[in-house]
Amino acid sequence: QAREQFFPLLSYRTGPYAPNGTPWANGKQDYIKMINARDGGVNGVKLTFEECETGYATDRGVECYERLKSRPGVTLFDPQATGITFALTEKVANDKIPLITLGYGLSVAQDGMAFKWNFPLMGSYWTGADIILQHLAKKEGGWDKLKGKKIALVYHDSPFGKEPIPLLEERARMHGFQLNLVPVTAPGVEQKAAWLQVRQTRPDYVMLWGWGVMNSTALKEAQATGYPRDKMYGVWWSGAEPDVKDVGEGAKGYNALALNTSGQEPKVIQDILKHVHGKGQGTGPKDEVGSVLYTRGLIIQMLGVEAVRRAQERFGKGKVMTSEQVRWGLENLALDQKRLDALGFAGVLRPISTSCQDHMGSTWARIHTWDGKKWNFSSDWYQADEQIIKPMVKAGADKYLADKKMQRRAVADCQS
């Protein structure tokens, strides 16, 4: 019987997406180190981890999964890539290991009754897109003001980039704005044509759905074609430091969704600086601690750890949880403000509570804006509109189940 709770960490520190993948992975690692150093683990259960480099490639990701999935005390997987998520979705169900995809993955997986093992925590591309639109509507002075407006979606030409389209189309139908789709071929180093199109159609807003080098290139092309950056809104994968840093002044005014804060103020960050970096055990450079993606890594890991803690509450404190037990924990997360404050995450994110029906737990997000040096919040919290998203999720999940000839989970299954 394992005496340690094992976290397999799939990451990519090389290759085209390394600049974004690295801080993310560092955050996850540092959080584990911090919990061990500060709290001695979860109720005395030490946390261990092993990283496995996927290079963002699906087959390497699958190999990593197969390599690490049967380690004793394996907890959950966070593949950090949409393609790998697709390939693992079915495998985790067979192996009974939860798969968390915070802010990415399949939007329809929010439906926990259909996707027992998937947890797209804190938001999907549908909720993200919905929030950007809400923000625009608010800025314009109401949904009706969007009528006749042009909104362009400049997106990474892959399932990741295409995911928000159904929601945007739905909203466009509802509110009568015009949606222009501008795909950018991966990895996105050459976007001249895309931005010529933007210049030609002169949209009122540009939504940016990019990852990696595509983001900074888009900003530079926007600058080169004179598109105002403050009319640009990125998804939360397009709104971190690596995306804007080398654009510098040129990215001033650019907005993006934020799932979390950035900066070193939160207590948890201070704890990490103290317990991990202070002891010379930081995974990455010190000044990266608290950056957007780093903090996102922390949150992901925190949710994983809290799921373990939650599971222990039910299945026995101080024991190593099996992955099935962790799944229950993930499905029954209840992190209210008090709990978050205690964890040192005050202000970093909104409370989150998951359930059997809702594997997302929270759809809150904000907009932040780059001022040339750092990200500053420029809006209040928004929550995605359930009325629109829920039926879409339900329909999508049903289609998925039908395709797979599978049944919805019985309500009784929620107790297991």
Binding site: T14, E53, R60, E63, F86, A87, E90, K404
Partner: protein
Amino acid sequence: MLYRENGQFKTSYRADQQIFPIVQDRWAIALLVAAAFVLVPLVASDYMFRAILIPFLIMALAALGVNILVGYCGQISLGSGAFMAVGAYGAYNFFVRVPDMPLVPAILLGGLCATAFGILFGLPSLRVRGLYLAVATLAAQFFSDWMFLRIKWLTNNSESGSVSVSGLQVFGAPIASPESVYWFCLAFLVVIALLAKNLVRSAIGREWMAIRDMDVAAAVIGIRPMYAKLTAFAVSSFIVGVAGALWAFVYLGTWEPAAFSVEVSFRLLFMVIIGGLGSISGAFFGAGFIVVLPIFLNQFLPAFASLFGITISTATVSHTELMIFGALIVWFLIVEPHGLARLWATGKQKLRLWPFPH
């Protein structure tokens, strides 16, 4: 007298034209196949199956297909990833659209879709040659990337362009456990390898090689370049397409076009060149090398470093892995430019002469 062919006189041309004319080879192959079917499943772990053996088998199959085109017919292609993708999505469409479509025919039909696609993109080879053709075949690659993202019909109107299959079975037996997937892939590989071997040692194989080695002379002895090249494209893309369907169906389960990106094309070309152009066994060697080596390095390097009390970060591991991988490729090419299969053959030749050096 461990490995000698002298003393084994062939009394008929039929005997001389067997696949493996040397007795020892025949036994070795028989043992190997038997071991692959029986012994390996007894000892291999789940991880071995899913992360190494199955991808190895499928990639070996794809490499086999690529080798027919590149190694035998001399048409360097960087579009193999596209052929795999067409095979995969083709099979997918047959599988989900035709009610009660059995698995094996779906995969074979996927292969046929790839054949059609391969012939289409093989047409320029009638005029364009060598490296020009190699680069031009990238058109197929980028076109297929685009096609499967953009044409919704091909992905059964899935919103994101990712598709998935499940509930695979053959004659009522589910293909889900690692052993069954392994056997399934192995069966495909053995059968297709056998057929391919037959082809390359038949008239058509000789036509391909003739076109590869000296096309003007080939034309003069009556070989039609068009027929030879297009059949090579057809056969090759069929095999690659089947491999693509297997990769998608039994290895990934759910996939997006990026699973068959240009990177895959490069890797396949790698396999055939490292393995040995124009040799069936080369595909196996090459696939083994390219599939297994990075995984091995990835796991071996940290262990190796920890021997010296050093812990290295994953980033360093994967950078070092890249460097060692690159260096090994170069090293192998220097040791034997004609690939691992040739190295193997030279080894056998030495064994034949043994204990005399020459």
